[in-house]
């Protein structure tokens, strides 16, 4: 089977196949093939195989090391599957069988023969394997077996070659999905395991070492259905990128990223009627909404057990709406003076930026990225830590990544990377998207243009004259990053 099992449905079918094969082998060992129990077991196996063949045109079940794979993917083990999967591995290994496979021709009789031959040779390693294989070949059936294989020195998953950019994209969506699962877990009142969030963030930190602009570009993607999850991942990405520029260690970045990823955790406890309200919130509803930082902190608190990671996650939840100078308007409002932590202040900056640049149902359009940044700069020192604001601006440029701009040459472009040099925060790297007459370009014209790099003529290649409203123009900038 060439197609990989990638969805939950395929996982389920794979597990059913493994379970049915195991059951059939065990049943036929003690019952004749004509016995009702055996007939039932073979029928179940036949049904399981047919389901997969109907989807994929064939099937292949492999044993690699201790694991069972159907197609390219390992079948997941849990409390209900471990036992029969282990037993199946044992049964196949005993016969020297490393795989069972079939194509579209496979019939119920083929499956009966497979089970029958296997029952005749319960053990014996390679010799038995050869015997089973030759018997199946004699029948000219659509089913076959392969020999056991050595455990590969590299796992199949990591062997798959992907470019860094693809890996970033895959990691981004995986992070969205993980965030969704974590928040769903919290929503159900189940115990959250911070280690899953941390592992996800560790992967992002590793990738962002070389590819942070790729990740920053991915923050221009906005989801209709999964705002909170996308927003959380965006905040995580911005936080890691900003933290790295502040000089944080990898360990600190992973804790910061975990705090950022979970900063809106409390929203799962806010009634959906409020969080998705299409219209003005009443005072009472606003007050409920304003509780989400403390509700998020409560979720982490209730995990019990103090740890550095738990504290950082609490800080992310609790402080992300606080004002740097403790002024009114920030929340939660506390009786005693409270200075937000460095992580809290940092998350507050990046959270606000991502939120402002997202289009809402109660707001005609998202704030332009450069406008959002300028607005935030005007609040520097009151709402936001001025040092972190400068670092953030330095990181994304005053025309932030994702901003659509008009160049002096008349071309339109999308900002894809900020300049490293603080003198050139207004001269980012851009990707031109139109020619000078405003006609959309493609191919080679999509090459990057570094506006801070002086050319042979001694001049800058172009310069930004204004930022444009991409949404008003119906332009989806995310496609220039995806």
């Amino acid at each position: 089977m060439s197609q990989g099992i990638s969805t939950a449905q395929d996982q389920k079918l794979g597990l059913e196949l493994a379970r049915a094969l195991h059951h059939a082998i065990r049943t036929v060992r003690t019952h004749d093939l004509g016995n009702d129990v055996a007939v039932e077991a073979v029928k179940a196996l036949s049904d399981a195989i047919n389901m997969i063949v109907a989807r994929s045109g064939g099937f292949a079940l492999h044993v690699l090391g201790d694991y069972v794979y159907v197609g390219d993917q390992r079948l997941r083990e849990d409390g209900t599957t471990t036992r029969f999967l282990e037993s199946l591995v044992h049964e196949l290994n005993a016969r020297g069988i490393g795989s069972v496979h079939g194509d579209a021709r496979v019939s119920h009789e083929d499956i009966q023969k497979l089970v029958s031959v296997m029952s005749q040779f319960p053990s014996g390693g390679d010799e038995v394997f050869k015997e089973i294989r030759s018997r199946l070949a004699t029948f000219e059936s659509g089913i076959g077996v392969g020999p056991t294989r050595e455990v590969p020195s590299v796992l199949p998953d990591s062997a798959t070659h992907v470019t860094k950019k693809e890996e970033c994209k895959r990691t981004f969506f995986r992070a969205v999905s993980v965030t969704e699962s974590l928040m769903h877990t919290a929503h159900l009142g189940k115990r959250l395991q911070l280690k899953h969030a941390k592992r996800m963030v560790q992967q992002m930190v590793d990738l962002m070492l070389d590819e942070d602009f790729t990740f920053l570009g991915l923050t221009t993607l906005k989801s209709h259905d999964n705002y909170t999850y996308h927003h959380s991942v965006n905040v995580c990405i911005y936080a890691i990128a900003l933290g790295r520029r502040a000089g944080l260690s990898n360990l600190q970045l992973s804790e910061l990223g975990t705090g950022a990823l979970l900063h809106d955790l409390g929203k799962v406890k806010v009634p959906a009627g409020i969080i998705q309200k299409d219209g003005m919130l009443s005072d009472e509803e606003t007050s409920v909404m304003r509780k989400h930082p403390i509700l998020g902190a409560r979720e982490i608190v209730q995990l019990g057990g103090f740890s550095s990671l738990a504290l950082k996650a609490m800080v992310g939840c609790f402080e992300h709406h606080m004002h740097f100078d403790g002024s009114r308007g920030g929340y939660p409002e506390l009786d005693a003076p409270y200075r937000p932590h460095v992580f809290g202040r940092l998350i507050s900056v990046v959270d606000c930026f991502d939120a402002l640049t997202t289009k809402r149902v109660y707001r005609n359009q998202a704030m332009r990225r450069d406008r959002a940044l300028s607005y935030m700069m005007s609040e520097s020192g009151t709402k936001f830590d001025p040092l972190l604001m400068r670092l953030f601006t330095n990181m994304i440029g005053i025309y932030p990544i994702g901003t659509t701009v008009r160049l002096a040459s008349g071309r339109m472009a999308v900002v894809v990377e900020a300049s490293d040099d603080p003198r050139f925060v207004h001269r980012p790297v851009v990707r031109p998207i139109t020619d000078t007459s405003g006609i959309e370009v493609s191919g080679v014209a999509h090459e990057l243009l570094d506006l801070s790099r002086i050319g042979a003529s001694g001049d800058f290649p172009d310069e930004i004259v204004s930022a444009l409203d991409a949404e008003a123009m119906g332009l989806d900038v995310s496609r220039y990053f995806a």
Binding site: R76, D157, G247
Partner: protein, 570 residues
């Protein structure tokens, strides 16, 4: 292959040793050294050793190199946490080896919190020459082939975020942002790099602040702070109960680190919540009470005691906060600690603190006066005496008859402080106590009243039984008499210092010497003259006593202390 098997085996032994022994233990050092040696010998020949981690077996090049069927093997342990490969590269140092072994030990503890596992902690360490490939069933279960949905970027986001929602005056915001961006661009045109540049000094300051925040003590405090805010905001009874459990668990963490200051803060928050807010539901009160009494449960109390007795600095520093924070109805528990603390220094410190704390809540101490431990009762009497409130006195009268003389003695002193007038009768009774030290204290205490007490004391010394008292007691009582002073006392000493007459009638030489010595305590010129006369006495004992008395009297006149003069006299 055999050399790789040796590495795997040495790794397992070193991990076991690291888990069992401290890092300076010879068994650990030997195991670690074997591991270093095995690793070095292989890595000089190979660029790397890559172990594939099976459920119970470590594989190298497809062959099993380590298999442990019983107990939790290294492979099982790593496999469970999702580690599927572990590769050691050339350049692997002995420091990295030590760090890795420590990680195996540390991870087992950290995993209990479920916020970390071997894989996350391994990553945190940032090993240069060891790499792991790990899977996470939770992460893997999310599916890896999500495509970018078509609607991204095209739809309104239906969720409210207050950052945006509360920006009411969009025009004003647009204006502010435009002005700011024009200003920024103008300054950039002037090459004002400082506008967005961040100096090294600023960066270091930020990192220093972060370092301070990462101090373990500070982190525990910050966690406590947020925990308190979460609790104060909680209105749901079921959630409140869960939070109280977290509260107690966190107090356990704080106690383990001797952080009584934060525990005190938590206690005071709970107490305020119960007494001041008036919003606590009926079902919440017992929970708060439970948390308030948590530290006095046997297990916690034992930890606190151990820390106090060991003189743990943090615990001692936080003791005043704890004494100040605990509610009145739990003071009793703190006082009971006095019965168990072995360190005299700590006991005295606690007594001093309790004296201040009990000024308004001394009634909490009264039940302890019935405790069977005399030393505890004595300390409570001491505290009550120092609290200095007259209304306490009646409660102490019964302790004056306590079976232990040390308690009786302390009770007399306390009573004298609390209500000197009413103490007199107890003191008079105590002059005939069965215990010498009580009689002496009673006499000394009474003597402070001056000549009005002289009659009572003279009556005691005139009694027949007094002749049988020890030399020390006789001298102490004479001293008390001398302090009381007055004509009668002088005349008594005059009589008492006269030599024995014919037929050896009159005071003994020892008694004469004691009376003579007491003359030095009298603030009376006649006493000095009498002492001068006695310097010529034919009995050496009396002469010496007279000399010491004169010297003391002179020193007192010169403003020198009795002890100094006493030493010289000796």
């Amino acid at each position: 292959m055999p050399d790789v098997i040796r590495v795997a085996s040495a790794l397992v032994k070193a991990i076991s040793a690291a888990r069992l022994y401290p890092i300076d233990n010879p068994t650990y050092l030997n195991a670690k050294s074997n591991f270093d040696e095995a690793m070095t010998s292989v890595l000089t020949l190979k660029r790397q050793i890559r172990f594939v981690v099976g459920r119970k077996t470590l594989f190298y090049a497809g062959e099993p190199v380590l298999s442990e069927e019983h107990g939790e093997s290294v492979a099982t342990y790593l496999h469970r946490d999702g580690i599927r490969e572990m590769t050691f590269h050339q350049g692997f140092t002995q420091e990295e080896a030590a760090d890795l072994l420590h990680l195996f030990t540390h991870a087992a503890t950290a995993e209990r919190s479920q916020s970390e596992d071997f894989a996350t902690l391994f990553w945190d360490r940032g090993f240069e020459h060891v790499a792991c490939v790990a899977i996470d069933d939770f992460l893997d279960a999310q599916g890896e082939e999500d495509e970018i949905p078509d609607e991204f970027g095209m739809n309104f986001i239906p969720q409210i975020d207050l950052e945006v929602y509360e920006l009411e005056d969009e025009q004003a915001i647009e204006r502010a942002s435009r002005e700011m961006s024009e200003k920024a661009l103008a300054r950039l045109a002037e090459n004002d790099a400082e506008l967005f540049g961040v100096s090294q000094e600023e960066r270091e300051k930020l990192l220093a602040e972060l370092k301070e925040e990462e101090d373990p003590k500070r982190m525990r405090h910050d966690y406590t702070r947020i925990l308190v805010e979460v609790l104060l905001a909680e209105r749901d009874a079921a959630e409140f109960e869960r939070l109280i459990e977290v509260f107690e668990s966190h107090m356990g963490t704080l106690l383990a680190h001797g952080n009584l200051e934060d525990i005190s803060w938590l206690i005071s928050v709970l107490h305020r919540l119960k007494t001041e807010r008036g919003e606590v539901e009926d079902e919440e009160t017992p929970l708060i009470d439970r948390a308030l009494n948590w530290i006095w449960q046997e297990e916690q109390r034992d930890i606190l005691l151990q820390k106090l007795d060991r003189g743990d600095l943090d615990t001692l520093q936080g003791l005043p906060a704890l004494v100040g924070a605990i509610p009145d109805d739990t003071i009793r528990h703190l006082c009971l600690l006095l019965g168990d603390i072995e360190s005299g220094r700590v006991r005295r410190r606690l007594i001093d603190l309790l004296v201040e704390r009990c000024k308004t809540s001394w009634t909490a101490l009264l039940p302890i006066l019935s405790d069977s431990r005399w030393y505890l009762v004595r300390n409570i009497v001491l505290i009550l005496g120092q609290v200095g409130n007259r209304v306490i006195a009646p409660s102490l009268h019964r302790v004056v008859k306590h079976s232990d003389h040390r308690v009786r003695k302390e009770a007399l002193i306390a009573l004298d402080k609390l209500d000197p007038g009413r103490a007199v009768s107890d003191l008079k009774d105590a002059l005939r106590d069965s215990e010498s030290r009580v009689r002496v204290v009673a006499a000394q205490t009474l003597a402070k009243r001056g000549s009005e007490a002289a009659g009572t004391l003279l009556q005691v010394v005139s009694e027949k039984e007094f002749a049988g008292r020890s030399e020390e007691e006789t001298l102490a009582i004479y001293y008390a008499l001398a302090h009381a002073g007055g004509n009668e006392v002088y005349e008594f000493f005059e009589r008492s210092t006269k030599p024995r007459g014919l037929f050896r009638k009159g005071p003994t030489e020892e008694s004469r010497a004691a009376a003579c010595r007491a003359l030095g305590k009298m603030n009376d010129p006649r006493a000095l003259r009498l002492a001068e006369k006695l310097v010529q006495d034919k009995t050496g004992l009396v002469r010496d006593a007279a000399f010491a008395a004169m010297r003391e009297a002179r020193d007192r006149a010169d403003g020198r202390s009795t002890s100094e003069s006493g030493r010289e006299a000796a």
